[in-house]
Subunit: 376 residues, 4 copies
């Protein structure tokens, strides 16, 4: 099953780490640590093999992939030896990247995006293409009547005034080109009624939103722990310090707000109530890709006794996200091939803010995921 | 279903917190935060009601329960208002406590313990009595041939040389008096072939070992998190600082070793390999009942990138343990009544070092527990 | 030397803790832990004795002091046994508290405040009165021409439009009543040219601003440590979580901004440059008086190697501030008696944002303080 | 002033980092971050210039320095670009390293060591040579009568039975060759009466012991902070996790004990009493050179209110130690030239366990150091 992975934001840290990693695994230069689809219950023949994956993508920036990979190596995100060993492959990879199109109307832009996707599919005779958005987080969009119905949306896209945020336009283009779509950021992506209608009509699946890479991953196991012990969480406050491109973007209050809301949702879901406290994000350039998050949880136990848990997470976001991007592409491709269309809520394991009403506790999400894979 | 809870170590912090709590819940002076058996899937009619519980116990010390309760209130473990409101009940409770017997042979001691249990059962017309060991941790015992067969053991107990550690002798006495037994400490308790044989012969169940109250509870959700994400845990090191009676006892190297082994076991079980590192316990009198544990986890992700997680747990051991003691007594009593005898591995949710080969991940233990309760 | 301490905000947590403490020390019910003026080099005869201190004050709220003291005891800030033992003294203390006056013009209000101060002085035949502002933090004031000259200010105070923030009006009133003034909060207090002119003219000293009780105290020793080792601090970020009255007030963005600026100033002073990062304050009601602050410092050493220091401070603000309030009152009274007028920059040891250009490293501030006391 | 630095343990992490650093600073490839002697008050003409330093040394291992430097670069301790740029210098440096001599008696071994020192001095026409011990920590030695008098020692060294630990033998050899000596580890070094006698007789100075690089550095500013605020430290407990060669050695209980004692001494000195608690060291190979130390301090304030401070230090020991080794060599050489002999207690700023009765608070040690340098 020849499978294309088309990355929106293909020259960013997550995309280039994923690209280096996919090439390195294929060349047997590294193992598959961090790849969930390599764990026994998920390692099934219906997933595309590593050797069947081809990566392409769009980006608005033009930094050469090799140069970006070298910068990631200097920052300790990927090993320098891999970048050196994959020099030729990373240079050749430039041929599969395209500048993100931009035209007079969003409809025309979508058509150009779709044309790039179709060309990619033909060039490599791909059975399936999965578009994955790993570009920077957008502010939450303003509601618009065109978001609710596909017909209205199609009309609106012909006018000069944009109605869709960039991520949703990418999802629209993906669906018109019969590609599946994964929203790895907290942006809108396919999560509009009009886009859901389109995905179902074209018979393609989609997944999202917001890859669960760090602090929220820890929350998704600690919050259920308190719930299962009938301990009352009184407050849960956190501070995320991060540099790098994502950090700079999140310093923008609107993007920050979108991300922060996504981070606290897991608590209400797992606990059944919303404890006091907020989760903040601050940009600290010096911290670079190695995000540091500190959380303080105050809780009470039997007879009201007050207690506390603190944790500090020092994680490399790109190294945590990249294997999940590859996992999601493989799983979504297999789902597409198995005839699934519309949302894939069973992939909630991977997301901070999953589609549908699935569980938010990691262990329950894992149970859903393994059942989903077994049924493919 | 009139149910007796007989606590070995009935004047200690855990026991007195459990006693205050049980009386307070019955008098509707507090809620049931921290009690797992009050969560929806476990709150079933087959469990004894709070009003059906009667508490008694043995201890080697003679501190009045009321005085101990006042000391716990001064230390912030239980609310002073509850101790004041329960003044009469706590005073009356003295009548249900007995000095721990001691005779020339362990056989005679066991007979005296059993006689106290039988008298307790008769006094309150109890359907079931569950003996719960909450006394201080023993050193790991030396192996002895008498541990393997009930006949050999019965012979050995008649001689003057002791062959059983105190916890195992308590289990022996409990079984001969047709009582169930719960080992809440890391001590031996019922975990000897001869005692298992006795429990099955008398038709009584037993559970254990080592209540999962703090650092290990957190480990039991974090270790599976790493496993489910295919992240490689490279080292896991911890330091537990605690005062109080348990802390002083654990400063004894032999008891410490028993406890520490129990604390690292969850890692190998959940991860499938034993990472580097140890978990230490230090006695710091000033810290009192509010234990502080710090853990550092180093792990690697995709392409070998090194990352870290630290957590600090500030928990009140007695406030965490006491509701579990009551939960375990209710569950074990219900199991006894339902005809179960021998080990109850389905109660692994509550323990650091559970009986049997059950899962060590908290979520899987929860699934086993809810199935067990549903079948009662 | 009979010395009056007049607290603005006399029914708040800091003031009531200071009052309970001063009464308890005088009655020999507690020791003087936390009182800097009891350390050998500062324990000099020129300071007023504990038995010479009389406390009074203003407040806008009317909660009885005894009730507030009981609430502080319930929260673990002061021992319940002291509140019980001082029942009569705390009840009698009501007689020395007055509602904060409010009149048609700020000039008239100041006159009423001054009249209360004079009455207090006469009632107890006090040699000196020190007014200490421990009320909630104000937003930074808008600049006004009347702030610069005493004559202009006197004119402006006669008009109906207010020109001074409450703290500065209190300082104005204090000076007109020949009282010294200590600004314990980040508010303006005496820090206006017109007020400085008045203080010098009346021959009274003043001190401030913003008592250094927690996170900033730690910063004032850690930042010099990095400087003395020639280590380069790259970023310093922090999150302060606090409940209680001060926390609620600081949730107001304007007050928050004033406080946060004061918190980062020490870094630039001690390091000689301003590292990246901010110090945030979040209100978490559940945390109450026991503030938790987490700081992350990233720094580089020889050959640019990146390293990190994190700390978490769990401090009780009122218990940290109260003895400093008493220290400052004793020191300022002694300085007044010794003939000092105008600012007392030598008291920088106590403040986050000291008057004058003194050192910000704690050890250097200590050297200045001991020299100041030796010269009294 | 041509100055030789002779490192015992010249192929270890600290030594090679210091060597790379000294070469890089001389070649203007890096700045002097981390070098205390480059701070304004210490940057005086009486110190040898960077271009006047020549490094040589002994070691028992034979790993090429270049290979070790490359390993340090791979571990992130030194930048790979510096190792590449200094390839030729690091290769040439091999000529200045010698295997650590070993002969039939300790007297003969000392003579061989001294001969290597003399040859080094002649080869480079050095005015002064400072021997610095950066080899692994020894267990505390058994007392021996020969340690007390130089004559007795000289006799004993002629016999076959060794009486000095290796570090003391190195100091002995250094002094006989008219070289100064710095003990950078917690080992004995020059701290024996017989060696002190020898140093004074030969007119050479010595300094030590145990470079203050991480957790103890932080303690030396935090402990005085509590003291200056009259806060009562109740317990201070710590865990140091470290890998690398030093870590493996410290896993040996005897070496560990020597190090741990040195770590707690600062507390008693700065506080005036010894709080509860211990500082542990555990070897965790995965942590490598980037040591992680966690400390918990419990303390009480006014009216006995209990509070806490925690810190975590993630430091690279070699990057912290190397510039101090160069600082100490420069300062000791200047002292030697200025006619100082015997102990240099004024260098206590650099050590966990300084010679003499000097202050343990970092700020006071700094004051002593600047006075010392001003007088050179």
């Amino acid at each position: 099953m020849r499978t294309g992975i088309w990355l929106i934001g293909a020259r960013g840290s997550v995309a280039v780490t994923a690209t280096v990693g996919a090439l390195a695994v294929r060349a047997r230069l590294t193992d598959t640590t961090g790849c969930v689809t390599e764990l026994p219950p998920l390692r099934v023949p219906s997933l595309p093999a590593w050797t069947d994956l081809v990566i392409g993508g769009h980006d608005v920036v033009t930094t050469p992939v090799l140069k970006k990979a070298e910068a990631l190596a200097a920052a300790g995100v990927v090993p320098a030896r891999l970048v050196a060993a994959l020099h030729d492959e990373l240079t050749a990879h430039e041929n599969d990247l395209r500048p993100l199109p931009s035209a007079a109307t969003q409809g025309e832009t979508a058509a150009l995006i779709a044309a790039d996707l179709t060309a990619f599919r033909r060039r490599y005779t791909l059975d399936t293409v999965v578009v994955v958005n790993v570009s920077t987080t957008e502010p939450a969009p303003h509601p618009h009547a065109a978001h609710d119905h596909l017909d209205t949306l199609a009309d609106a896209l012909r006018r000069s005034h944009p109605v869709l945020p960039a991520s949703a336009l990418a999802a629209y283009a993906a669906f018109t080109a019969d590609c599946a779509y994964v929203e790895f950021t907290p942006s809108t992506g396919a999560r509009l009624p009009a886009l859901d209608e389109l995905a179902r009509r074209r018979g393609v699946p989609y997944a999202g939103c917001d890859g669960k890479t760090g602090e929220t991953l820890v929350k998704s196991v600690l919050a259920p722990m308190f719930a299962l012990r009938n301990l009352r969480v009184r407050s849960w406050s956190g501070l995320n310090l991060l540099g790098g491109g994502d950090g700079a973007n999140l310093a923008d209050p609107a993007a920050n707000a979108a991300k922060v809301a996504s981070k606290q949702r897991v608590l209400a879901d797992a606990l059944g109530y919303q404890p006091e406290g907020t989760s903040r994000i601050d940009y600290v350039e010096d911290i670079g890709d190695f995000k540091t998050a500190w959380d303080l949880v105050t809780f009470s136990g039997f007879l009201g006794t007050g207690m506390r848990l603190e944790f500090t997470w020092h994680g490399c976001d790109s190294a945590l996200a990249a294997p999940l991007v590859l996992d999601l592409a493989r799983l979504t491709a297999a789902a597409h091939r198995a005839g699934r269309s519309g949302p894939l809520p069973e992939l909630g394991f991977f997301f901070k803010d999953p589609l549908g009403d699935g569980p938010s506790a990691l262990a329950e999400q894992w149970a859903e995921l393994t059942a989903f894979v077994a049924a493919l």
